[in-house]
Amino acid sequence: MSLVNDIMQSMEYGPSSEDASAARDWLARRGTFGHFINGSFTTPGQVFDTRDPSTGDMLARVTQGAAEDIAAAVKAARKAQKSWANLSGTERARFLYAIARHVQKRERFLSVLETLDNGKPIREARDGDIPLVARHFYHHAGWAELCDTQFPDHAPLGVCGQIIPWNFPLLMLAWKVAPALAAGNTVVLKPAEYTPLTALAFAEICQEVGLPAGVVNIVTGDGETGAALVAAEVDKIAFTGSTEVGRGIARALAGTGRKLTLELGGKSPFIVMEDADLDAAVEGVVDSIWFNQGQVCCAGSRILVAESVAERFEALLRARMDRLRVGAPLDKSTDIGAIVDPIQKDRILSICKAATDAGADLVGGQPQDSCFIAPGYLKNIAPANPGMQQEIFGPIATLSTFRTADEAIELANNTRYGLAGSVWSESATVATDMAARIKAGVIWINCANMFDAAAPFGGYRESGYGREGGHAGMLDYLAAPGPKNGGEGKLKPLDAVTDATAAKPQGIDRTAKMYIGGAQKRPDGGASYAVPGGLAPLGSRKDIRNAVEAASKAGKWAAMGGHARAQVLYFLAENLAARADEFAARTNKREVEAAIDRAFHYAAWADKFDGRNVQAKPGHLVNTIPEPMGIIGIACPNRNPLAGFLSLVLPAIAMGNSVVAIPAQNDPLAVADLYQVLDTSDVPAGVVNIVTGARDALAAHLALHDEVAAMWYCGTPEGQASVDQAASGNLKPVWSVAHRDWTGNDAQGQDFLNHAVRQKTIWLPYGALPSGSGSAAY
């Protein structure tokens, strides 16, 4: 019997290893790497090993970046930034285009290098990561070209510090570097310590294309190097990685005024409705949690299946899982490669153990020699089990059931995260409804883990904030036109008043109250403080609690639609106008006019602040939809008490948010007079809640509240720092609102609306007939 004959009996696949010689030659030639600073590689310093996780073999030595290295890189980036930004869009586009071309020319080399360093299957690096890297640079070459016309009066932020993870090393580099450069920023990027090699290869590409020195700087190292970058004098930090590290960065940046975007962890739901194509859904699981060894922040790791089809779904899932091949990453027939590092492997196994200790059953998922773990899933698992709450970041999903669509949504949203969600249903009616109701930044209908440079990607909740890709992604690397952040003078001392002598009653005594849930409420503490015109209630933590509670019950405001909200805002303008003289007496005529203008302005926007249809891939309907944040906490400036308040509250509610607002601390009574206007204008109870009192203390309470989704703060640097600090708890985005004349023209506009929403990207592949049938989809 010959070998060929034997194989004809067994029909085994046999080994099929990708040729790694070019990458290995490069590593042998380079051996030890310094940083890439100001256009050239530095002399290697203190080095650490980077290894092939599938074998444990050392691949190269790279330098541990110290604070001085970061400082040198930031200095180089700062020096290069002005002239980079001063290039025309076309000139920047040519560099990005050249980078894309060079990535493509070295596609095989980069794929192999990525697989060696990371352990992912060569098929995924070859067909996934690297083509997407090239696509990202092509797409952003276009944004560089169009930046001036599409983002008029916007300016680059300056120097961006970027910290990326190890799961998609070069792709995450592309996601960070391409938009930053397109917008005219320069960057200092720190790749993950496990996977620095493709970033260093990318540095060579920057040299090859003649990118001006200092535009891209790469400093390798571990978390300490990252911390040094966070502490450096940069204008923005963009971080992708774990939620815990992200929280630390948010704290570190509190009060610095530096921009921050975070793309963090996830525990994304994967919902299989009873009318789903179950085979398609099973394949979706393969593309989700059994992709990249499950080391995917947006992986559909919580599978929720309709009870009526759960048995068949699991049978199909199990059979499919059994055919996955775990093995050498460089083998072209490998489905599941190596976990990136033994530490990660241990982490995965420990969460699985905690899950099984708590009563779940693990199917498959057994550890193997070296850094390998077989694909698996946890069944008989409920939300109370840690395995269903924690991000496992390995090839292990959870599998549980639901009865009805509302229960599926309840389970799907029962998580601190909100990165992505996947819905499987052959009903457009059902699927689009589910997509709307899942609280996450990316929804895949009948597909999973689809990415494209044009499709914004990013999270809700503790999955972070900011978007990468497309129009929304560009906005996060640009400064919108607006006033420079000035000050607002001193807050007047605020003392609780125990007797009523401070206020001189005129006519029938009026008592200013707070406004919570559509009703005027006395402060929980029963105290007031003296303000111009009388006494204002002195709000406390408990009033904030009650106001947030009321805001969370605002009900249908978001769902009633832009047109209906516009009607309410027009009505508000009408009622304000009717009482213009009275408000002018509290403030002045100019402020009242501005207030009415705001109502008209945001009534106009309410049904026009549209999402986009994204040109991601043919055959895919990809839409971005601006969704309200939920509850926005707003701390208002002292200047222009009425106009300032409405300039902030109206854009927020126009977009469907409910708000808890702290009016001007020094002079809140004009706002107290608004309650009746809100009532008579049909603003539903709970949409606007107002707590008067000590702004910074109340704002900190708001920022601490996990139910509050975002904070807008316009006040003092100290107050800003404490709000930033408090907001890091549930990672709510904080908009530091610049002081300005709130009766002026720059106190309204799209920048306000951009902060009032977050983009949800929904993918919907279509196609009635298969390929060859003339469908436009293929």
Partner: protein, 313 residues
């Protein structure tokens, strides 16, 4: 190999069928990229494909001598010296496939080689003849010595959702086939939607088809991987319900050695290795064999063969 006895018509087995076409396209597009075969393994898989080929001529100008030439190729599909170099002997194609009037010449040409003769029948390719004539054609082919019958279905029954008519027609054909094994050609290019393909597959298996086959080779679109994937999944489901293994035959779209590998990967990954034998997998093809032989020649000699150096089918 036992025949598929079929079942009563069970429309409930496919009433709730859901097929997401883009998802099928994605799976079909990535399947061949997930598995790679090199060197001896690639050669072995290519030879296995040869073993599964129904070497076919279904042309208006077929003559007994033309069919005899095809049969000679079926008996020696790969040059003897190439097979010898790989230590493989006794390799033939899975069958030859011809029109009913060519069954006699094919039988004579194949002699005692053991290679079965498959005959198309039932008014191939359109199938729009009176049922009694279609059944008579089956009997004629059997009488000529056909071992297997490739029947075509009435596409109208599928397009109109008339499952009873489709089932009854297939049952009658099955009975007419007697001991011969029956392949049911669904003409998927005419059925268009993947749901239609899946429903027709179920009815054909319920009526006792031993293989379900994609195409006549005469439709606008013939065998494609997405359609094949859908049919394979119905074979899996029918097997889960009845315990019977039904075979699959893609026809008319496979031309390159790469195609031969892709379809075999599909069978192995979606149904299992058992579906890599001629009992459960056939490829309806003519030009495919030539490309496989070229690849085999390269594997053995290190040179790419010119077409004129390989024996014509």
């Amino acid at each position: 190999m036992t025949q598929n006895p079929g079942t009563d018509l069970r429309t409930d087995w496919f009433a709730d069928l859901r097929i997401n076409t883009p998802a099928v396209e994605r799976r079909a597009a990535t399947l061949p990229t997930r598995r790679s075969l090199k060197q001896d393994h690639q050669a072995a898989w290519l030879l296995n494909a040869v073993r599964c080929i129904d070497l076919t001529t279904l042309a208006g100008d077929d003559t007994p001598d033309r069919v005899a030439r095809l049969c000679a190729k079926a008996r020696q599909p790969i040059a003897a010296e190439l097979l010898e170099a790989m230590g493989v002997s006794g390799l033939t194609t899975g069958a030859v496939c011809v029109y009913p009037t060519m069954v006699g010449p094919a039988k004579r040409a194949l002699g005692n080689s053991g290679i079965p003769v498959a005959s198309v029948a039932t008014g191939f390719p359109a199938g729009l003849m009176p049922l009694d004539l279609r059944l008579a054609e089956i009997r004629y082919a059997l009488d000529q010595g056909a071992d297997e019958i490739d029947i075509v279905i009435t596409r109208a029954h599928v397009l109109q959702g008339n499952w009873v008519a489709l089932y009854d027609e297939l049952r009658a054909m099955r009975e007419a086939c007697g001991a011969a094994r029956m392949k049911a050609i669904l003409a998927t290019g005419d059925l268009k939607s993947l749901e239609n393909v899946a429903r027709a597959s179920h009815v054909a298996m319920q009526a006792g088809a031993d293989w379900i086959k994609t195409s006549t080779g005469k439709e606008g679109v013939n065998a494609t991987l997405p359609v094949s994937l859908v049919m394979c999944r119905t074979i899996r489901d029918y097997g889960m319900r009845t315990g019977h293994k039904v075979g699959f035959k893609p026809a008319g779209g496979l031309r390159t050695a790469k195609d031969a590998i892709s379809w075999q990967v599909l069978m192995a990954e979606e149904l299992g290795r058992e579906w890599l034998t001629p009992d459960l997998f056939r490829i309806g093809a003519s030009s495919l064999l030539g490309d496989i032989e070229r690849q085999i020649s390269h594997h053995v000699t290190g040179r790419y063969a010119a077409a004129h150096r390989l024996a014509l089918a």
